[in-house]
């Protein structure tokens, strides 16, 4: 008899979260990065004043808040787990855990739990900082917060699973960051995170639509940008059903890929 999945999962979430906050590099590049970028964008473009369609102008900071929330979801899920698990694979952590009665499901529960604890804290602090420090108006309509909740949960779960799947790609722990970070950077540039979405050409928008980050960013814009901004989206609408479908498909892809690719060790390397 091994201990219950609940006990194992809870124990894993504890050690995973502790480890996350004790690793200086993940703390900066995953947890604090969106705060740094929000501050830089707000300061750099502060001279350009308010932007947006007539009658719905907002500050640059307000424009970048939903973008940085989307970036945070992506970093906390995909980048964090892909690098983390690739490292654990190469430094012997997974081999050791594979020799214990820890169930792989318990291990994943720990990773996803860590992503939710840190991702939620990150999003909460980002919204708080935007509101208190940058003076951004937050939505008052409860329906907007319902949208926020499901986009956040669906987006973070999808990103966590894709991170687990992507961890199979780097050939060694050393190359993990070099393989994963550029993929993330490119996606953030083409998905309307760093660059304003409606400034991108149609073909690039269509290409970005193949990947989940564009849909997370779009969902977040629908929550935090005022009415009138939907005219700058593809087809002039927030297309929330599209967000749900695209993320749902990527959730399944991530689940299947992580099931297929995950091994405690390469048994016959």
């Amino acid at each position: 008899m091994s201990t219950s999945l609940m006990t194992q999962g809870a124990s894993r979430v504890g050690v995973e979260t502790k480890t996350y906050f004790r690793a200086a590099d993940t703390l900066f590049f995953t947890f604090l990065f969106p705060f740094v970028m929000l501050a830089i964008f707000s300061a750099a473009f502060s001279a350009s004043g308010e932007v947006g369609p007539p009658g719905a102008e907002i500050s640059i900071a307000a424009l970048y808040l939903p973008a940085m929330l989307a970036a945070g979801i992506f970093l906390s899920g995909v980048q964090n787990l892909a690098i983390d698990i690739a490292l654990e694979k190469s430094n012997g952590t997974l081999k050791r855990l594979g020799g214990t009665p820890l169930s792989p499901v318990g291990y994943f529960a720990g990773k996803i739990g860590q992503v939710f604890v840190t991702g939620t804290l990150q999003a909460g602090l980002l919204i708080l900082a935007g509101w208190l420090v940058l003076g951004i108006d937050l939505p008052t309509d409860p329906a907007k917060w319902v949208t926020f909740a499901w986009v956040f949960v669906l987006g973070l779960t999808t990103c966590a699973l894709l991170g687990i799947a992507l961890s199979a790609l780097p050939r060694s722990g050393k190359s993990a960051a070099a393989v994963v970070i550029p993929i993330g950077l490119i996606l953030q540039f083409i998905s309307g995170v760093y660059l304003q979405w409606n400034m991108l050409p149609d073909w690039l928008q269509n290409f970005a639509s193949l990947f989940p980050l564009k849909w997370i960013a779009q969902g977040m814009r629908s929550v935090f940008l005022p009415e009138g901004w939907e005219s700058l989206e593809q087809n002039g609408s927030w297309n929330l059903p599209g967000v749900a479908i695209a993320l749902g498909i990527w959730l399944v892809v991530g689940f299947v890929l992580s099931r297929i690719t995950f091994r405690w060790i390469r048994r016959d390397a």
Partner: protein, 301 residues
Amino acid sequence: MNTTRTDAAVQIRGLRKAYGGVIAVDDLDLDIAHGETFALLGPNGAGKSTTVEILEGYRLRTSGEVSVLGVDPARGGLDWKSRIGIVLQSSGETGLLTVTELLRHFASLYPHPRDVDEVIAAVGLETKAKTRIAKLSGGQQRRVDVALGIVGRPELLFLDEPTTGFDPEARRQFWGLIRSLKAEGTTILLTTHYLDEAAQLADRAGVIAGGQLIDVGAIDEIGGADARRPIVRWRDAAGTTREVRTDEPGLHVASVVAALGREPDGLEVIRPTLEDIYLGLVHDASAGSAREFDDTEEALA
């Protein structure tokens, strides 16, 4: 728990493992009894680690039959894993958790774990319990590895070169710990390069060379009676070194003195240690394959 179990803790029949065309383990048979401490000896690349990793469930065998605690390790589930403990060779984990934090976590994975503080005391890390593992010395980190291997109260413990990097005092302390585990009835499979360690801890030993078990037996019997026979060595009248294995070294020395009519030069009487016996076994085994290797080189030249 400890009823009349006639089955062996580890049973291996005709084990074979090939990587591509290279045969790492070739037709290996071995039994390890419940409660026994068995030392597996052999040079690097002899097939020692491959054999142990197959028993641990980390590697799949090419053919043969293996049973570990009554279970085929290739199909060992979580229940089976909770009954074994594995101390791997050095690991490079990030070490951001403290000794206590990591041990508490591992204890939570097992159904009947040992008390974490007792385990920390047993490996002599009480003063480092609240220290992050990354800040410990190499030898102290190795003790954490050992602690993680025993915290689940395993029936069978795999120890892969456990005392590499220990100072002599830490090694003595570790031997004490292993003896206490043995006294509790733990079956132990130890691989080591230190022959004195095998002699101190193991009931029996096996020597692997070239993927085959070339000898197995009690520590004081391994290599056979011949390998333990004292050697008399001297230089004869022509100055050539002579060597004779005899059960009566004193009488032989006397006959040499009589024949020479004087004190022989370079006279030695040698009683082989376990290390000598081991080196003799491994040398004999590799002589055959070394000749093959020479032939290949010549063929290539």
